[in-house]
């Protein structure tokens, strides 16, 4: 799975720590998601989507394995 989290966060002028605080997770978790090391759960993906006022599929893209 790929995502646009880094790009969207930068566009909003947020640091990883700011986004982490807004989502109630740690900065390491945001970095792990941005670098593709971790795919968030559905509830966290919804939180992220709400944060950027977008749909989940506009942020996360499934890539065939």
């Amino acid at each position: 799975m790929t995502n646009r989290l880094r790009e969207l966060r930068a566009a909003k002028g947020l640091s990883q720590a700011d986004l982490a605080q807004a989502l109630g997770v740690s900065r390491q978790t945001i970095n792990a998601i941005e670098t593709g090391k971790y795919d968030p759960s559905l509830p966290l993906a919804f939180k992220i989507a709400r944060q950027f006022r977008m749909r989940i599929e506009d942020i996360f893209k499934d890539t065939p394995s």
């Binding site: 997770v25 740690s26 390491q28 978790t29 970095n31 941005e34 670098t35 593709g36 090391k37 759960s41």
Partner: protein, 132 residues
Amino acid sequence: MTSSTTKRLGVGVVVVIAPLLHFVVPGAFWHRTASAIAAGLMMLFFAKEPVEDERVQDLKLKAISTAFSVSFGLTLLVNWLLNRDWDVTRDFDGATMVWRSISGFDLIILVMAVALMLFHLWRWRDATASPA
């Protein structure tokens, strides 16, 4: 109890209580010391992180699963080495056969030490990873 209190308690048990039990309190024997070390390491591993999110829980589960498999494998290897001269045909009724094994506390120490190491390594990698 807060996460940092549990962690401090864990460090205290490993660094202070266990050596006291081993070197100061009379009648020292390894299992007593090992049980204290195992308890301290468990406190350290199972203490909540400052931000206990889904990634932390995911990494802790992965760390403990991997640590258990690796440690159990190592235990089997050590036990095999300890008992490699064991000959089942030597004493048919088993009266003098002794199965030597590392204790359960030793296994817990190994599991917790490997799990703590893996968890913090992966957490550090999460913090420092940069995009490909």
